[in-house]
């Protein structure tokens, strides 16, 4: 099989897309935003419970989309939970670099190891937006999504 495809659709990604973590509606979320990719019609809603200091106390997502967008959202919720805003921002920037095939050495070692499974997307420029949809929606929820 095509090695780039194998890299893209590796088991970790398929597992996240089939069994997304932190999936569902969060009642009483402090922040919330909807993301939409008009190219494919994919939609994602990100719910946050931010602590007083901005730390991600809880996070959930809901939506429909391709394996990449669902897996990316699922991994994102796994990794953002418990982080401060500064940590989350750093993680997001590193992730964006990674999926665009740019230098992601600013990521902490263990974060990079976990996110590396998404690196195969850089070979598929048409699909990068699928991977970044949830992250941009998260950012939007923090900045403009106070409920």
């Amino acid at each position: 099989m095509d090695s780039a495809l194998r890299e893209l659709y590796q088991e970790v990604i398929l597992d996240h897309s089939r069994h997304p973590r932190h999936y569902g509606v969060m009642e009483g979320a402090s922040h919330k935003a909807e993301g939409y990719n008009p190219l494919c019609g994919d939609k994602v809603t990100v719910y946050l419970q931010l602590d007083a200091d901005g730390r991600v106390g809880d996070i959930k997502f809901e939506g429909k989309g391709c394996a990449i967008s669902q897996a990316s959202a699922s991994m994102m919720t796994d990794m953002l939970k418990g982080r401060s805003q500064a940590e989350a921002e750093k993680l997001m920037q590193g992730f964006l670099h990674l999926v665009k095939g740019e230098d992601a050495s600013d990521l902490a070692e263990d974060d990079r190891e976990r996110l590396e499974v998404m690196g195969g997307i850089s070979e598929f420029p048409m699909r990068v937006k699928c991977a970044t949809l949830a992250w941009h929606t998260y950012k939007n929820a923090v900045e403009e999504g106070a409920t």
């Binding site: 099989m1 095509d2 780039a4 495809l5 893209l8 659709y9 398929l14 897309s17 089939r18 190219l39 494919c40 019609g41 994919d42 939609k43 429909k64 989309g65 391709c66 394996a67 990449i68 598929f124 048409m126 699909r127 699928c130």
Partner: protein
Amino acid sequence: MTAPLLHNKSKIAASPPAPPSADRRTSFDAEKARADFAILSRQVYGKPLVYLDSGASAQKPDVVLDTMRNFARQEYANVHRGVHFLSAAATDRYEAARRTVQKFLNAASEDEIVFTKGGTEAINLVAYSHLMPTMQPGDEIVLSVMEHHSNIVPWHFLRERQGAVLRWVDVRDDGSLDIAALDAAIGPKTRLVAITHMSNVLGTITPLKDIVARAHAKGVPVLADGCQGAVHETVDVQALDIDFYAITGHKLYGPTGIGALYAKTAHLKKMRPFNGGGEMIREVMKDRITYADPPARFEAGTPPIIESVGLATALDYLMSLDRAAVAAHEHDLLAYARQQVGQFNWLRVIGDAPGKGAILSFEADGMHAHDLATILDREGVAVRAGHHCAQVLMERFGVASTSRASFALYNSRTDVDALIAGLHKARGILGHG
């Protein structure tokens, strides 16, 4: 306000049409025609290109590209304004292109052909110039749920800005148009029926002649979006007695940047100018203005001159073929593909209307259309994935997106086989969700 839609997830007809026999022979040689398109011999990712996205945009035969280049190298200048040699030559070619479109659609007069930048602009021209000046709040536009956004959004503009009411006509679960429902939707306040000739998602061909007869019986004009229909069907606007028919060049094996609106002379004479600028005027003074006669009235600014020559060449190319045989070839590909995908119990075909055109849309269990399209792409197979600019239709069938294979005159059963092999592979990678 729009009439309510059916939102239920529909059952899709299960029984595929029987494929015609494989040994069908026609007077159209698809393999020979394929050689006319240089791009089809290229590879992608080291695999032969299997282009099944002609519904989005068709490839262009070498003769179109060569003619455009030669025209630009030998005869190009602006049209309708110079007295010099090249301007006269270019004007001749541009107006000859208009006559070619006239012939292609069998319009009564070349003056009934307005060049536009594409199908979208042709439909917008009808909205802005034909309807908008006389639209009253509560006036109705009848359209089907299978319209492309280009035949929806201009009418939404009239709804938002002038209080028009959109009357939606549903399709049946097999994708066919419910003609009785359409007839019933046409009432005393209906100002226009706007309907596709062939759905870009379902492949459904609409019975335009019947639609026009029913609408005219109530004094209502009809606009057909022929962007897909004109590619696969032979169009005779006089026999259809249709009021407006929109086409686009790039789906007709011609260049981008050009399309045309056919409109009956009686309508064109009453239509308000759309864009203002050069070429569309007779006389401009400080305090008044008079306009050129149609079609020039609706062609402000320098038109797509080189593209007009390309479009005419593409239409000549099409008309040089036995179009009935081309249609039979495309139907054979569709029937073969339909039969082949019938083996997959994890795949739902959306659109099985009788007599439909060569478009196959489907949804696969546990496989998002974009993932599927990415895997097919790596096999060299180009399909479209998404909502196909038909979100109202997606809602009707309860899907967010579909994959679509569309067949053109240059496709073959080998292309279908590559699609099927790609689907097997995708199932192997993504399946069993």
